[in-house]
Every structure is written in C-alpha cells, then in structure tokens.
Symmetry: C2
Subunit: 440 residues, 2 copies
C-alpha cells in the first residue's frame, strides 16, 4: 500500500500543548500499553499502519517545520514530501504523488491512498484504506473515497450521497456542511461523512497535475512550488470528475480537533502529575509540567499545563479557544528540533535560560549570535563542544562560555542535557548566524 | 500602642501559594493602590497599623523560619519575638510580653494588645485595638477582649456571651464552636465572635508567667523555652480569670484561611497573567508563573499556579484541600531567605537548577557541599563572590564554578540574579556546611 498522510500545519486549538511550532499530531496523548509510555497521534497512526501492512510505503506530506518532529518521533525510514510553502491541497497532493513516482519509484498504475494524519481510529480503518487502494487499482472509477457511516447528524462535516447503499457505490453528489435537519435528512438517504480520505492510481493525479502545472518531474515541481496557485484538491479534481466511487466504513473514526473530542479518546483521565478529589466528575488533566495539578469539585472540565501556559476550560467551551490564545503574543516556550528539543525555563530582562536536550549522535547547528553571550552548563551526558573551530570533550558538570560573535555547537555522544544561559541586552531568535561545520 | 501580632506557622490550605516554608500571611494578594503593586497580609496589616498610629510599637511573635520573610517584607524596624520551638499560645505570649518588657523597655503598667496577624480588616479595626488597650489600662478588668459582631451564625468560631449589650461589658461566659441552631440562639442573646484579640497590662501576663514558669528575664525564658510545657493562653489564663471585659467591634473582619474566603477579599478577579472568556462566572485566578492561565466557561472556580503546582477548585470545595496537598511529598520549589529568595526552575536526575535573587547589600551564608558541584551564572546585577577565601567581583554574564568541598558565597552590591546549576549524584538540602565569613 502506498499511503500519503497529510500532516497539516500548527494550530492553537489544543493550546497549551500545541503552539506556533508544535502541531497537535505530535502531542503525546495516547498510552502505548506495550511500551508503557505515551505516544503522539503520528506515532499511533504509523504503528497501526505497520501492524497491518509492514511493507506499506508511507509518505508524509508536510511543511519543513515538521520534519524534525517527524524524524524524532517515528524515525527516518518514513518518506517525507516537504512542501516548501503552503499552496493548498492540490499542489500538496501533486507534489507527494510526484515524489512517490520519481523518488520512491512507485509505478504509474499502482494506487495511492491519501488521508489526514489526525483521525483517531483503529486498525480496521487501515484495513479499509487497503481496500480503497485495491478498488482504485480495479479502475472502475478514477477516485475512490472513504465514506464514514455517520454516528450522529453532524453539522461540521461534508456529506457524500451515494447512488446505492451497497458497500461500494458510485457517488451521486457531494453536500457541504448542512444544518441539523438537513443532516438528518441526508443520513436517512444513506449519506456518509466525507473524511477527506481517497485513493487513485498514481498516473491519474500525475496527469491532472501536468494538465494544470507546467513541470517536468518532482525536483522541478519542488523548485517552482512557490510560484503555484493555491487551489484545493476538491476544486481542481473532485468537482470535475464524473467517475467517483465511495466505500462505506463503519468502524470508529473520530476527529480529535478540540479538547472536547480529544479527552473522549483518552484512556485514562489524567496524563502527568494530577490529583482529583472524589467530587470531580468528567474531568481530564494533561500536565506536561514537573509539578502537580490538584483538582477539587470540578465537573466537565479539562485542565492542561505546559511550559507555554495553563488552560482550564469547560469541555463544551474548549472548542472556542482559538481567538483567546491567538491573542497571546507569546514566546515559544518549547520545541522539537532535528537534534533534540528545548524548553525555556526562565525569562528575565537581559537574560533567558533554556533547557536543551540533544539526542545521541546529534548536534545543533554551528552558529553565532551578535548581541548575546551564552553559557552552557552540561548537566548530564557527554559530547564534543566545538567553539570557534576548537573541539573540547564535555561531560556533566562542565561549563562552556561563549562571547557574542563566537561560533559554537555541541555534538552529543549520549543523550546530553544542558542548561543554556543567554545574557545580553537584546535576546531574540533572529540574532543567529549559521555556519558549515568542518568536524573531524 | 504596644501590639503583639501572632504570626502562625505554615500551612497548606492556600497551596500552591503557601508551602512548607511560606505561610499564607506572606503571599502577595492585596493591591496597594498607592504603590501600584501587590502586598501580603503582613504588609497590609503593618501599613494599616502605622497609618493610624505611626508610633505603635509592633512586635511579631513567630518562629525563626519566618524571620527572613518578615524582614524582607516589612523591613527590620519591627520587633520580632522568636519562639525557638512551638509551645502553644501561653508560652508564646509570655515570651513576647517579656520581650516587650526586657528588650523594648515597655513599662509594666502599659497595655499590650495581642492579635493574630491574618484577619482581613480595615483601619477601624486598629482603632478598636487602640480602644482595647486604653480600656485595659483603666484596670477595670485584667483582660479586655474584642468581641466581633457576628454577620451570620457561624459554626466555626467560639462565642463570647457578654453580661450586657453595652459597648464595653463584663463577660458572662465563653462558648465553644456551636452548631447552627445554638449559634442562632447565642446571637439572639447578643453573643459575639471570639477572634482571639485581647489586651492586658504588661504586668498582668508577666505575673501569670512567673507563677507558672520559673524564669528570671526574657533571655532566661528564651533559653529554656524548649523545656516549657505546651499550654494554651485560654487554658492557662482566660479560664482562671474572673475579671474579663469585652468590647464590641462591628467593622469588617474576615478570616481569610481558605481560598473560598480569600477570593472574596480580592479587589480584582485576577492576579498575574490570566485570560477569562465571557462565559466565566465568579472565577478568580492567582498566577505567580510567567505564562498565562486561560479560563473558559467556568463557574465558581479558583485557579492558582506557582512553581509549586497548580490548583483548580470549586470555591466551596477549596476548603477541603488540606489532606490532598499534605499527601504531596514535595520538594520546596520557592522560598524567601534573609538574603533574598530562590525558585527551582529545573529538576533532573543528577542536577537541579535554581534561580536565585539576592537583595542589595545582602549575602547568602558562606557554605560548602560534599556531594555536588555548583555553577553560578550571573544574569543581572553585580557583587563580590567569595570562593575559598578569594574575593572576585562579578557582574551579569560572569560564571563561577565551585567543586564539591569548596566554600562559597556571593555578596550583592545591587539586586543580583543568578542561575545556580547544581550537578551531583545526590542533591539534597542536608548536604551543606556553614562557615563564618571573614570578609574585608
């Protein structure tokens, strides 16, 4: 199976666990019983796919800001089609399809299945994706969509009206988000939710792409990506296509876009340090801080805490969070990097203190700052610091001081933790020059 | 006026703002409109006293763990009678009275007024204390109590039944915490709340003390304090005294012992960074962290966050917090010290990182550790570090490394902030040797 997972941009609807850098699919919400640790949606989905088809060729279509997190969380075996900028779904799917063909060598008559990375599902869903691919390869239709059996008359999904109630049917028409009564009416006619999941033969989308965009191959398309017009896959392809089939899926499928829906999928009521008294009812806590959250006498409330901030919300109300947190002009307090991660632990006037974790064998960029001095306090692990070209082995307890202008990096042998103290009148992320590192 | 403020021990009923070290009277809850900053209960009370009587001789009776916070918050002009250990209220009041006589030189026929440090009151309360003292000096009775006009039939206060409803009356009897019906009945008879506020001529309590304890003067009493029997002032004095008067007080008086009552006294609904959406009703936030608290659709809830943890509680339920937070086997995450304050900003295996603030002109103890190395990263201010007897001037950006065994301190010229990184296999507060500092 060739699978393209669309990994969308960041968003703050799950603030404070998602921020301008960390998208919700990277938050570790789900208990992996085997490993006894929590995993993110992207880890869960990737593991589910590999369980049902260990040879599945998985490509993640995403922006470059997510690449480090993807490699950190699921390893570097996965294919990644990097969108140089945001150009809506048609260019993104065209680029990923072209990547599969030109980089991964997938033949033109094989099926490609596209689905969002963030539905909460079980393995039966991925079995259904396989079926979707097989149906696309049959060639009865140019596109085969997954139609999700509605569990309630939702007003927030698009609907697919099939010609028949058979498991596989041609599509009669598509309907946009309806009101409640209309939704009930659709469902009585056998309508299905459109979860944005579909399959096609690789050649089909490649042909559509060549019709709409002047490019030779993947590399060419990648390079001219910024010049492309923004256009959705629905508008560019689906609406113009007559031969579309839909396959019914009746397994569990949840869109975990808000705190409200997310907590429904949590296996335990709390993640992280939390104490709830017995007067709490339907309360969920997700706490990424090292100190406890104590809840007393709450009902239908979600509490979440991270280095970014603290949310306390009625579950129903939590879906309206966006304007409140968009208004926060906030410093990024934590982020995953290609080499590890960091967390801001103190902000003061003229200084900032950061806890840095480097993964074994990884190094940060070789860089310098114009306006601040930095001090590295190594607290665990060992590695090699490179300061203005000079290599020095470092271990727990060692201190490296770097004046403004000095080029520096650190290469971790083992997992390495350090406390970085930045001191300067102006501290900002723009004050950074990167250099090539000649490391022997 | 000679005033003894009883400043009681720590307690966790206002966790996470109070911890094993910081008692509730030191938490900065109250807006000082003139200064545009928040002040603690002890600061508020001290300012109120000085406003109505700038010559009032104020003595705080407390344990030594609070002395640093008292001096930090209200300066070093205040008298402090330090109880070497806890021996209940009679020994504490005897010690403070003896301190007033022998250290402060208060004559035996002057009145002493004793009151708890933590009622939430206005200046009329302190005017009433003055009256209480004047009445005691008249000598009609040996003890003059303040009787607070009840505002509701409380089951948690003791009651004073006066002989008449006059403003000043002899006391007929005392009643312990009653049930609701009994409380109503008391109130209909003109009963008053006993707020633990009373006045006496200095000689009166000094005589009672000499009757019960064999001591010569303050210094002697201080030295043998540990050998004293625990006994309450009520039991040792009040119950044996026939000539007791009570003066009515009808001004505002609130016992702010729980989050529920405390939030009622807050002038604004939030302290610190907080955003409440318009679906919040009767919500209070006290946030000592640098990151925001966002509340959505909550009703009758208090949220409080500090380096120690996060509380989210229904207001009514908040009075039951004690067993939940007593169960937390917690690291002290912040504390006031004689020289400034500290806050833990990272805890990892084999390391701890602390932000230290030194007040101008102050220094920490000269000390060493056996099992850990320490690194000071100075982030603002300047001072003198003394390392194994060597003095070095330090300023923002400087780094001092201290191996285990090395004696060290830092003396602040200006307010000085530093990030202290501790690295060692065993990090605990017991690993500390103190030395005399010979500083030139």
């Amino acid at each position: 199976m060739n699978l393209v997972l669309l990994s969308g941009g960041s968003g703050k609807r799950l603030w404070p666990l998602s921020n301008d850098i960390r998208s919700k699919q990277f938050i570790k919400f789900f208990k992996n019983e085997e490993k006894g640790e929590y995993e993110s949606m992207i880890q869960l989905v990737y593991r589910q796919i590999k369980n049902i088809d260990k040879d599945a060729k998985v490509t993640i279509a995403t922006s470059k800001t997510q690449v480090a997190s993807i490699y950190n969380q699921i390893g570097e075996d996965v294919g990644v089609s990097i969108e140089p900028c945001r150009r809506d779904t048609f260019p993104a799917i065209a680029l990923a399809t072209s990547y599969l063909h030109d980089v991964q060598g997938v033949p033109e008559d094989e099926a490609v299945v596209v689905c969002p990375v963030d539905p909460y599902v079980h393995e039966d869903y991925f079995e259904a994706l396989k079926e979707l691919g097989l149906q696309a390869e049959k060639g009865e239709a140019n596109l085969v969509l997954m139609g999700i059996e509605p569990t309630y008359p939702s007003e927030k999904y698009g609907y697919i009206i099939p010609e028949s109630k058979d498991n596989t049917s041609f599509v009669k028409e598509f309907k946009e988000k309806p009101d409640l009564e209309t939704a009930k009416n659709y469902i009585s006619q056998g309508a299905l939710w459109n979860g944005g999941v579909f399959a096609y033969k690789l050649k089909y989308v490649l042909d559509r792409a060549h019709e709409l965009i002047d490019f030779t191959d993947y590399q060419d398309l990648f390079e001219k990506y910024e010049t492309l017009t923004k256009i959705s896959f629905d508008y560019a392809v689906v609406e113009k296509e007559d031969k579309i089939q839909v396959q019914r899926f009746s397994g569990e499928w949840k869109d975990l876009g808000t705190w409200n829906t997310l907590t429904e999928a949590m296996e335990e009521t709390t993640i992280g340090k939390a104490i709830l008294n017995d007067k709490c009812e339907n309360v969920h806590v997700v706490n990424e801080l090292g100190v406890p959250v104590v809840c007393m006498g709450l009902k239908d409330v979600v509490v979440s805490a991270s280095a970014q901030g603290i949310l306390v919300s009625d579950k129903e109300q939590s879906s309206y969070i966006k304007p409140y947190v968009d208004g926060l002009d906030e410093q990024i307090m934590f982020a995953d990097k290609a080499w590890g991660s960091f967390k801001v632990i103190d902000v003061d006037s003229g200084s900032m203190t950061i806890k840095v974790t480097l993964n074994p064998g990884h190094k940060m960029n070789y860089h310098s700052h114009d306006l601040r001095n930095e001090i590295w306090n190594v607290i665990s692990g060992d590695g090699i610091a490179v300061i203005d070209g000079m290599e020095t082995p470092v271990k727990a307890g060692d201190v490296i001081t770097m004046e403004a202008g000095c080029k520096h990096t650190i290469i971790a042998n083992t997992e390495l933790h350090l406390i970085e103290v930045q001191v300067g009148e102006e501290i900002n992320t723009e004050d950074k020059h990167k250099y090539e590192l000649e490391y022997k």
